[in-house]
Every structure is written in structure tokens, then in C-alpha cells.
């Protein structure tokens, strides 16, 4: 019997164009709570997916209790005793608790039919061991609170005799009371000898709960340490500790008037009293962890989601952005983070996508001015250096970077004053990134107001004139370029809830 319940050695996972995980190793002992932390995109999700058989790594070995295994699908991982409670729960809300606990597994009676009395009994027992002896297994899961739904997921894992339970951001959608119950449950599981891999963005939880912690960065293993030997600062250092390369062609505009002012933006459960100002001729960056409410802030002020309170002023004028169409008329352009889902109509041509947000500009009566559209598209292809065989090409066929430039072209056609770029360089290659930065420079020099949401700290430090750090729907800090806090460590500290002094 091995010392470790699960061990990973030299595991590398590649995706087209990117290495998501490089030479990764991790050892998890039986009955330990093992923390896993890292920045956005550090490779935590990839690690989870390799452990659960969702991704098959190209190189490396996985050992379960000393035996070498290889998973080509999630069922094999589950049979080997690795279970995962994902952030997005795999619950069928219409089905009762018992069917969710037994999803993918069944107990049959002698007639080959489901033995519901026994299934109810076992589901009830499983939930009782998790601290919920009075759970009603006949209840529809959708009617339960988030904490209880999570317990159903854990019960599912426990009932297949999991040796390792992976929990991905388990507390992110829970209330305080539910978090306490969850922590108690996790400790009970540990007592029963089940190892827990606990992925969290909340350092205080890790310190409270974990025996050891592993830090990942850029898809690589950085350190594994006993929690007792760690401090907040050491953890953050390990997470960000890379040097800034000069890949950001930052140019400065002239700071102009206040273009956009948001006061007390509130959206129940999402945004808590978000206030900020953005000026012409500057890049205002929004930093923070995934789920900190940055995208939600942008969507709300763009009218894509409803606000529960707060005021928006554009050039001092109070506006009511009820929907995207109105916001665009008010001079806001919004490059969404989900390029394929919200930015492009993939089945349509480059030139159609270019005019999507401002067809009025290209209309004569009810008809479109074909020649002008073609000229405009050709001009955009040239200035933004979009690599496409023609303006008629459907955008589905373009690479990520070129697709992103098409979306940028679409918004430039809007002649907006305020440009919101949400993760503008996500998933595009380095060369295209620099070209996107150049477009941003150009816009700022024209006196436009540019807001950039970015989860990549080097990008924030490289391009921003000012940074707003958000955490859990709140503005945590505002840092000017040139201030002593304008560095990775301090931004991370604010993003993780620490105070800047």
C-alpha cells in the first residue's frame, strides 16, 4: 500500500496552441485535506479534469493507492474512487434527492426493478453521516437550498466509496451558516479516511481547513507545503511570482473629462454598492478573481442584466440603460468576454458581423448599402490586420485572434465614446494580443474612454492607467499607475480580501 491515495507524476496536458498543464505532480495522502490554489488560468481546472477522467493527458502517470491507472472517461475515474463536486452542481433539479444520489448507479430488487425502499434508506443514511439525519429524500432537489444541494452531491460521492473527493470552489455560492456546516462535514469525511482536494479562492478557509496546500501557476506545480508553515504573503508570492516581460506596448493618452460615472450599482446577490468613474483618454482596468463581479458590473451598466439600484451618468448626464440597444445609442460599446457566445454570429460573414451593432450607419431606407458595407469591412480587415480570405468568409472559420478583431471592428463601427473590453485577449495568441493592445492605445489617444476587465495581472499592470480591484461584488481598492500599490502582490492581496496599507 502506497503512502498516497492519489499521485500524479510528470503530467502534461496540451490543447491546440496552448500547454494547459506542464510536468505537473501532486501527492495526496489518505485522510488529508489538501488545498489547491492558483491564479485564474493557473491550471487548477485542468488538473481536476485530468483527475476525474474528463481530460486525457498526453504525458505522465496517475497512481491510485500505488497502482498505476489511466482514465479515458469519467466513469473509470469514479470507479477508481475519485469523485468531484463541481462548482456548477450536477443536480437534476426536477428529480427527488434519492434519484440524484443514485444518479448513474442503481439498486435493483429480484424482479430487476429499482428497489426504491432500499435506495431511500441508503440515501438517507448517506446524508445522515454528513450531518443531515432528517433530510427528506423524496423532496425535489431544485427546492433545496444551495448548501443542501451540495450535500446531495457529496452524498453521491460518499455512496460510491470515494477515496478522494475533489471540491471545486465549494463555498462560493453558500451562505455563512452553510459554509460552517460544509466545513464540519469536510472534517467528518477526513475522520473517515477520505482525502479531500479543496480548491478555493478564499485563503482564510484554506488556513482554517487544510493540512497541506499546493500552489499552481501557469500550468505548473510551484510548491506543496504544510499549511502550518505557510503565511498569507508566502501563498500570494507563490501564486504571482513571475516577472513582467515587456509585451505591453503601453502608450499614454491625455486624461480628459469624466465620461462614465457609476454610483451605488446594486444587484441583489451579485453587486454591492459599486461606484467608480472612468475618464476619456485613459484605460481603467478591473482586476479581481473570477466571480468577483467585474463582468457583472459591465453587463449591468450596459443594460444586459437588470440593476436593482444605482445611477449611471454619461458625461454628467443621467442615463437609463434599460437594454443593450439603448446603451449603444448612449455611446457604450461592450466587447464581451465570451466571443463565440455573445460577440459573433459564427454562421455569418465577416462583413455582416462588422455591421451588427450599427446597421443604421449602413442603411438607405430599409435596404443596406452593399458597396459601403464591403468598403468598410475591407478597411477594417486592413487596419486591424484580420487574416481572412475575404470579407464574405463566415466567422466560424477564423482563428480566435481574428475573430476577436472582427468583434472589435464591429464596435469601432459604433463610434462609441466608452469602450468596455472584457477579457479582450483571452484565448488569443501573443501576436494578436499586441495588436489588440495597439487598438486600445489608438482609442485612448483619440480621447475615448476605455474600460478593460482582465484576469491577467501582467496585462492589467502593462496597460492600465488606473486599476479597480473587485471582490465578491464589491470595490476593494482603486490604484493609480505610479502609486506604491501598483504591483501584482498588492492587487492580488486586495483581490483576496486583504487590506492595503
Amino acid at each position: 500500500m502506497s503512502e498516497y491515495v492519489v499521485e500524479l507524476k510528470h503530467v502534461t496536458k496540451r490543447f491546440p496552441g496552448v500547454i494547459a498543464m506542464r510536468d505537473m505532480h501532486i501527492q495526496i495522502r489518505p485522510g488529508e485535506i489538501h488545498g489547491l490554489v492558483g491564479e485564474n488560468g493557473a491550471g487548477k481546472s485542468t488538473l481536476i479534469k485530468v483527475l476525474t477522467g474528463v481530460h486525457v493527458p498526453e504525458e505522465g502517470e496517475i497512481y491510485v493507492e500505488g497502482k498505476k491507472v489511466s482514465f479515458s472517461n469519467p466513469v473509470q475515474a469514479r470507479e477508481a474512487g475519485i469523485a468531484c463536486v463541481y462548482q456548477e452542481l450536477n443536480i437534476v433539479p426536477m428529480l427527488p434527492v434519492v434519484d440524484n444520489v443514485f444518479m448513474g448507479r442503481k439498486i435493483t430488487n429480484k424482479y430487476g426493478l429499482l428497489d426504491y425502499p432500499r435506495m431511500h434508506r441508503e440515501a438517507k443514511e448517506a446524508l445522515a453521516t454528513l450531518g443531515h439525519p432528517d433530510a427528506d429524500t423524496k423532496r425535489e432537489c431544485g427546492k433545496l437550498g444551495m448548501g443542501m444541494q451540495q450535500m446531495v452531491e457529496i452524498a453521491k460521492a460518499v455512496s460510491i466509496n470515494a477515496k478522494l473527493l475533489i471540491m471545486d470552489e465549494p463555498t462560493s455560492s453558500l451562505g455563512e451558516q452553510e459554509i460552517k456546516q460544509l466545513m464540519k462535514t469536510v472534517r467528518d469525511l477526513k475522520e473517515r479516511g477520505i482525502a479531500i482536494l479543496f480548491v478555493s479562492h478564499k485563503l482564510e478557509e484554506l488556513f482554517e481547513l487544510c493540512d497541506r496546500v499546493t500552489v499552481m501557476r501557469d500550468g505548473e506545480h510551484i510548491i506543496t507545503e504544510d499549511m502550518a508553515n505557510m503565511t498569507n504573503d508566502k501563498l500570494i508570492q507563490a501564486m504571482v511570482g513571475r516577472t513582467l516581460e515587456n509585451q505591453f506596448p503601453k502608450e499614454f493618452g491625455v486624461k480628459g473629462e469624466c465620461m462614465l460615472k457609476c454610483e451605488h450599482l446594486t444587484s441583489i446577490g451579485v453587486l454591492k454598492d459599486v461606484s467608480f468613474e472612468a475618464y476619456g483618454g485613459e484605460i481603467l482596468a478591473f482586476a479581481g478573481l473570477v466571480g468577483a463581479g467585474r463582468t457583472e458590473t459591465m453587463r449591468a451598466l450596459f443594460g444586459a442584466d437588470k440593476l436593482d439600484g444605482g445611477d449611471i451618468y454619461i458625461r454628467g448626464q443621467k442615463v437609463n440603460n434599460r437594454n443593450p440597444s439603448q446603451s449603444i445609442r448612449n455611446g457604450i460599446a461592450f466587447l464581451t468576454e465570451d466571443r463565440k457566445g455573445q460577440g459573433l454570429v459564427l454562421s455569418q460573414s465577416v462583413k455582416t458581423n462588422m455591421i451588427l451593432a450599427n446597421m443604421k450607419k449602413f442603411m438607405k431606407g430599409p435596404l443596406l448599402k452593399g458597396k459601403q458595407i464591403e468598403e468598410n469591412a475591407q478597411g477594417m480587415v486592413d487596419t486591424l490586420r484580420i487574416k481572412t480570405p475575404s470579407t464574405e468568409e463566415v466567422t466560424m472559420q477564423l482563428s480566435g485572434g481574428n475573430q476577436q478583431k472582427v468583434v472589435i471592428g464591429k464596435w469601432i463601427n459604433c463610434d462609441a465614446d466608452i469602450y468596455i473590453f472584457d477579457e479582450p485577449t483571452r484565448g488569443i495568441d501573443v501576436g494578436a494580443k499586441v495588436e489588440v493592445y495597439n487598438v486600445m492605445n489608438q482609442l485612448v489617444k483619440e480621447g475615448k474612454c476605455l474600460i478593460m476587465v482582465s484576469s491577467e495581472l501582467p496585462e492589467v499592470l502593462g496597460m492600465a492607467d488606473r486599476v479597480i480591484v473587485m471582490r465578491e461584488g464589491r470595490v476593494m481598492a482603486e490604484i493609480e499607475r505610479g502609486s506604491k500599490h501598483f504591483n501584482q502582490e498588492d492587487i492580488m492581496r486586495a483581490a483576496w480580501g486583504g487590506a492595503l496599507t
Binding site: 437594454n323 457566445g341 430599409p366 443596406l368
Partner: protein, 333 residues
């Protein structure tokens, strides 16, 4: 390399219905010597295609937005019945009759669109399926469930559209109307802002919304237009059938869906062309016509048409798979 390959198969897919139509023609010409290839018979096919072409043009819009309009058949029949009922009540002015039919059907379409977009019903399948029965019921109600004959009732100008033929070889006026409508549709879908918006809302409703396109308004217009086409189809039907009869709507909705899908539209939305739809409609009529000439009864016709619909959806699925592969390759580059 890959690009070239997908382009070739793309063209084959687009030519698919045309090739099938050509093969049908060859087969029927050989197996039905002297019967199939006759001017009178070909004109007959056009006449039989008209109604489906008109209804399918509205259906096409719904399909492009990834929706469906199941109420078209009974909406058209309701228009025909309305003409009959107004006529029975002494109104014989053709303009009034035609306008009332079109206005009522357009209104029916508007209701379809409003139900979908303002009540947030999950899918137009629900709203239009419901309205199909409502229209059916209203048609039965206003006609007292009786068939109304149009012959020699003094409304011949209304019937003229569906009945008359022109030129020495008997070209049906109704198909001339189809060509006119389709030409307008071609311009509308390809060269108007609204037309492009319809494709974009169908291709990616969220991207359209985030680009400031009012998706709900676009959808409402689509179903209203579909209703408008049903009104025109209802007028043509009056001349073609010479009666207003609620029982005659049986296959109009499925015929229209089949025509669009055969012609390149997709249940996933975002695509489909008006000329492809015409090909699809012609294909269906040609099969019906050929089988008729073989003296095949309704039984055989239903079986064949049923298989053709399944074949058409199979083509749609294959097309989707090929696109998914193309997308995957594009991503891997």
C-alpha cells in the same frame, strides 16, 4: 486543403435538392412516357406548388430564427373561410374580401409572435401549436362546420388569382405571384437590415441582443410576416379549391416545413434561402404529381412524403455534423 474539401461538400449539399429534383424528373420522364413531360402537366405542378411556396416563405423566416410556425395551415384556412363567410353575408367586393383575409391572418401571426416574445413561452412550438387549434376552432365556428362553395357566387375576381392561367401554355397566375413574392423575399433577406437581423437573431440570439438588436421585436415581425403570407395563401386557396373547407389544411404546415428543410434551412436556425425553399416545394409537388400519374393513392403518397421528410431532416443533421467538424478544424488551426 481542409477548406477546399469542406467547400466542395458544401456545394454538393446546396446542389442536393436540385440534383434530387433532376433525378425525379428523369425517373418520371422515363417511367411515365408521354404523361409526365407535358406542358399541361408541368404547369399543373406549378399550380400545385403555389400554396406551399407562399406558406413556406413565412415558415422559412421562423425556421431561420430557430423557431417554427405550426399554425400556418389553419391560419391560411381561416383566411379562406373568412372570405366564404363574408361572401355568404353579402360582401362581394373583391378588395374588401382580400384585405380582410390578409389583415386577419396577419393579426393571427402577430398574436403568435406576441405570445412567444412577451409571455416568454419556451419555444414557438408551444405558442403556434396552441394557436393552430385556436385558428382551427375559429374557422369551424364561423363556418358552422360547413363547406362553403365559391362557384358562381359573384366573387370571381378573388378566385382569379388562384385559378387563372395566362400565356398560351397556361402559366398559373398563382405561380407568377410566387415568383414576385420570392423576388421580394430575396432582396428582403439579403439586402435589407431587417433581413440580416433575422439571420443574426437565428444564428446567435445573445450576440444579436448584445449588439443592440431588439431580438424580441425581430421575432414578432417574423411571426407577423408568416401570418401575412398565410393570408395571401388563403386567398389563393379560395380560387384553387373553389370551396372553403376546414378539412383541407391537413398537411400544409408539414409540407411547408419540409420544403424549407429540403431547401437548406435548419432547425438550429441562422440559415436557409428562399430559392432553396422553392426547390424544396417543387420537389414535394413533383413527387406527389408523379405518384398521382402512377395512380398511386393517398396511402402511397403519404408514405413517400413521410420518408422524404425524414430524409430531409437526415440531410439537415448530416449538414450540422459536417459544420461541427469544420468548426473543430477551424479551432485546431
Amino acid at each position: 486543403m481542409n477548406n477546399k474539401k469542406t467547400n466542395v461538400s458544401d456545394i454538393l449539399m446546396k446542389l442536393g435538392p436540385l440534383m434530387v429534383l433532376a433525378i425525379m424528373f428523369v425517373v418520371f420522364t422515363i417511367t411515365l412516357p408521354g404523361k409526365f413531360i407535358r406542358v399541361a402537366n408541368l404547369m399543373n405542378i406549378l399550380k400545385q406548388t403555389s400554396i406551399n411556396c407562399i406558406i413556406a416563405s413565412g415558415m422559412l423566416l421562423a425556421l431561420i430564427t430557430a423557431g417554427i410556425d405550426l399554425s400556418v395551415g389553419y391560419n391560411a384556412i381561416l383566411a379562406t373561410c373568412l372570405i366564404g363567410v363574408l361572401m355568404k353575408n353579402g360582401i362581394t367586393n373583391p378588395v374588401v374580401l382580400i384585405l380582410s383575409a390578409i389583415v386577419v391572418s396577419t393579426l393571427c401571426g402577430f398574436i403568435n409572435g406576441t405570445l412567444l416574445t412577451r409571455l416568454d413561452l419556451p419555444h414557438p412550438f408551444v405558442s403556434t401549436l396552441g394557436m393552430k387549434f385556436v385558428f382551427w376552432g375559429i374557422a369551424l365556428l364561423i363556418t358552422n362546420s360547413q363547406t362553403i362553395g365559391f362557384t358562381n357566387k359573384g366573387i370571381d375576381p378573388v378566385l382569379w388569382i388562384g385559378k387563372q392561367t395566362i400565356f398560351s401554355f397556361g402559366f398559373p397566375v398563382s405561380f407568377l405571384l410566387v415568383i414576385l413574392i420570392y423576388a421580394i423575399y430575396h432582396v428582403f433577406l439579403n439586402h435589407s437590415a431587417l433581413g440580416r437581423q433575422i439571420y443574426c437573431v437565428g444564428g446567435n440570439p445573445e450576440a444579436a441582443r448584445m449588439s443592440g438588436i431588439r431580438s424580441k421585436d425581430v421575432l414578432t415581425i417574423v411571426y407577423t410576416l408568416s401570418g401575412f403570407m398565410c393570408g395571401i395563401a388563403g386567398v389563393v386557396l379560395a380560387g384553387r379549391l373553389n370551396t372553403a373547407n376546414t378539412a383541407s389544411a391537413a398537411t400544409y404546415d408539414t409540407d411547408a416545413i419540409a420544403a424549407c428543410i429540403i431547401g437548406g434551412a435548419s432547425f438550429r436556425g441562422g440559415k436557409g434561402t428562399i430559392w432553396g425553399t422553392m426547390l424544396g416545394a417543387l420537389l414535394i409537388s413533383t413527387i406527389r404529381n408523379g405518384l398521382n400519374l402512377f395512380s398511386a393513392g393517398n396511402d402511397i403518397q403519404y408514405i413517400v412524403i413521410g420518408l422524404v421528410i425524414i430524409a430531409a431532416v437526415t440531410i439537415d443533421v448530416m449538414r450540422g455534423k459536417m459544420e461541427a467538424r469544420a468548426r473543430k478544424m477551424a479551432m485546431a488551426d
